[in-house]
């Protein structure tokens, strides 16, 4: 199994009492609650945590994109990935992902990802997402065209990366008389593409297609859903007439490791619950704006509204497999058990969440990297991995 250290970079300095006045940490919570000194300290700390991921032996470090929220201070993962590019040497940098439909000019993404890929000499993973529903409220992009724009932007970026010379693009949402992106990606034909998702049949059918074989990453979901969607992906590959490798599948999950199960739960509780119930929570109208998902999937939403928007305790999240918490032994066992059922080649661990402070984050990272990771390395290790950068150069270096 390969390990990626994932960070949301939350604004952990949020005045939680003041923030209670607002229904959600997204969009409505005014940036007057943001303190620039606290922000600067947090960026410094979080970038340091990601950089340390390389020293601790993670295969990758990962960032993502969210707008107008204390949930994550990364409106541009391009900036965070760029900041990491020159401070790291060998680790893969995964942007998970860039929200394609939010860009009115997505060729800029073809340029920016190619730049980071080149600066790192081929250490980039390009994640492509639609962005969560709230992004469409914040950014104004029409959710009814989210799927169309995602697919058109994707096709255009791939063309820019794979069709040499001066070309053009004429679509419904984007039109360019000239497509001629400099620089070209360092990795050829382009960086590996990963598709983080909360679970969607359409996304799975598309990502698993033999022309793409993109790594599908199930993010922060109850284990039941993770299992269901990863299996759906495997089944879809079989339907296409090929067998998915383990490295086409990934699972992103918050994890907390401590000396004992009891200590782990005690230390993580407040910070995890702040992450889930304050930073992540939003009204359903914001999470699922009209047109963002299909009418069919919206029909069930009203019934599960309370479940989606209600509070979740650490204990419940642990029971549901949305959060892995415990001693190194417990965490190892749980991941291994889940691996036996899902055989995911990639585990993306979020080791800082909510208000988890620096000292506990450091301890968590050390314990996870030293006492969990090494024991799980052998899982899926027999599988060829063409879904991480540098697979080729690593082999060459070994020779």
């Amino acid at each position: 199994m390969k390990f990626t250290l994932f960070h949301l970079m939350p604004y952990a300095a949020l005045d939680l009492k003041e923030a209670e006045k607002y229904p959600t940490a997204w969009l409505h919570t005014p940036n007057t609650l943001y303190d620039r000194e606290a922000g600067a300290d947090l960026y410094d700390r979080y970038l340091g945590e990601l950089e340390r991921g390389e020293d601790l032996g993670f295969d990758g470090i990962a960032v993502n994109e969210h707008h107008s929220t204390a949930y994550g201070m990364m409106p541009s993962p391009i900036v965070t990935a760029s900041a990491l590019a020159r401070r790291t040497k060998n680790v893969t940098i995964a942007i998970l992902g860039s929200a394609l439909p939010l860009r009115d000019h997505p060729l800029t993404l073809a340029e920016e990802h190619a730049m980071i890929d080149t600066i790192t000499r081929g250490r980039l993973i390009t994640g492509m997402v639609r962005g969560i529903g709230a992004e469409y409220h914040v950014w104004g992009t029409n959710p009814a065209f989210s799927h169309e724009r995602f697919h058109e932007a994707h096709d255009m970026i791939i063309q820019a990366w794979t069709k040499p010379g001066v070309t053009s693009w004429h679509g419904k949402h984007y039109n360019h008389e000239y497509v001629n992106v400099w620089p070209r990606p360092y990795q050829q034909p382009h960086p590996p593409i990963w598709i983080p998702s909360q679970g969607s049949k359409e996304t799975i059918v598309w990502a698993a297609h033999p022309d793409r074989k993109y790594t599908y990453l199930q993010t922060f979901s109850p284990i039941k859903s993770v299992r269901k969607y990863l299996q759906q992906y495997r089944d879809q590959c079989e339907e296409y007439g090929y067998t998915a490798t383990d490295h086409q599948l990934g699972w992103a999950v918050p994890i907390y490791v401590a000396e004992t199960d009891e200590i782990a739960r005690k230390e993580a509780k407040e910070h995890f619950e702040t992450f889930r119930n304050k930073f992540l929570k939003m009204p359903i109208e914001m999470l699922l704006p009209p047109g963002y998902s299909s009418i069919e999937s919206m029909k069930g939403v009203a019934k599960t509204k309370a479940q989606i928007t209600g509070d979740i305790t650490l204990e419940l999240a642990a029971d549901m497999g949305m959060f892995i918490v415990g001693s190194a032994e417990t965490v190892r066992q749980q991941i291994e058990e889940h691996w036996k059922e899902m055989r995911m080649g990639h585990l993306l661990s979020m080791l800082q969440f909510g208000t988890l402070p620096a000292d506990l984050t450091d301890k968590n990272m050390d314990l996870f990297a030293n006492e969990v990771m090494p024991h799980l390395r052998a899982l899926s290790a027999d599988q060829e991995d063409t879904h991480m950068p540098g697979a080729q150069s690593a082999t060459q270096a070994a020779e």
Binding site: G140, N142, P283, P289, P290, K299
Partner: protein
């Protein structure tokens, strides 16, 4: 009382559910974002004195959602096709909210078949200094409570049970509304420039307590459309057809019969 009869007709290759009833001058009622539901009782009453046509817009209610429907302009051209397909002339177009915006977009393009225009709490323009309500951020309860001035009426309507079919149509209506009106939010930045092209008699009807498009929007439309007159309905939110149906009906029939705008 005249009943409305629903027929499915095909216009621009699209099957639309179309209610029609009564006799007299033709009134085409273009419903708002919430669908034709709130307009049905109102139009049934109006059919006592008018030949009322109340279609479900393409993408709404029982009508099909056509591939070509992307913008409010597509909808405007559709209704110009609609007037031709039914060979309607001298039509009094009543447009409410989103339907008012459709009426405006159609009328700046061609008024050949439009005799009169009534705009009720119409979308379509933006006033930088007057904040609109964000319909997309409101859940069902908030919508009713915000849009209806009379809180007892709002609670009464909220307490009415809905069928799964109605719930599904509500989702469909909202999807199409987003398609047309998400960005820019319920307006076309270019429409304002061409409102002077609406030369048919026009009246603008507005609730004095409209939280989505506050009264200055009505005032601005009335000021910009040549000769248009503003009628403000007191103690009224965004939906005069359910809060003050008699008053709104009076304004429409009076205007239809050639009364001063």
């Amino acid at each position: 009382m005249a009943e409305l009869e629903t027929k499915t007709i095909t216009v621009t290759g699209t099957e639309v559910a179309c209610r029609r009833g009564g006799s007299g001058p033709v009134v085409l009622f273009l419903h708002g974002a919430g669908g034709a539901g709130t307009a049905v009782p109102f139009c049934t009453g109006l059919a006592d004195s008018c030949d009322v046509i109340l279609p479900d817009h393409p993408g709404f209610g029982a009508s099909a959602t056509p591939e070509w429907l992307d913008t409010i302009h597509d909808m405007a051209f559709f209704y110009l096709d609609f007037l031709e397909a039914l060979d309607l002339w001298d039509v009094h177009v009543v447009g409410q909210s989103l339907g008012g915006w459709i009426a405006l977009e159609a009328a700046v393009r061609a008024t050949e078949r439009i005799g009169r225009l009534t705009l009720v709490g119409a979308a379509g323009i933006n006033l930088p200094d007057v904040k609109k309500g964000d319909l997309f951020m409101w859940d069902k309860e908030t919508r009713y409570r915000n849009m209806i001035h009379d809180s007892a009426l709002a609670e009464k309507l909220l307490a009415m049970p809905t069928t799964p079919e109605q719930d599904e149509i509500a989702i469909k209506n909202e999807f199409t509304t987003a398609r047309l009106a998400w960005e820019p939010r319920f307006f076309d930045p270019h429409l304002y420039k061409w409102l002077h092209r609406i030369t048919v008699p026009t009246q603008v009807v507005w609730g004095d307590d409209d939280p989505i498009f506050p009264l200055p929007y009505g005032e601005a439309l009335a000021a910009r459309i040549p000769g248009a007159q503003l009628h403000v309905i007191a103690a009224c939110g965004h939906l005069p057809q359910i809060e003050h149906p008699a008053q709104m009906s009076g304004l429409i029939t009076n205007f239809t019969q050639g009364g001063a705008s």
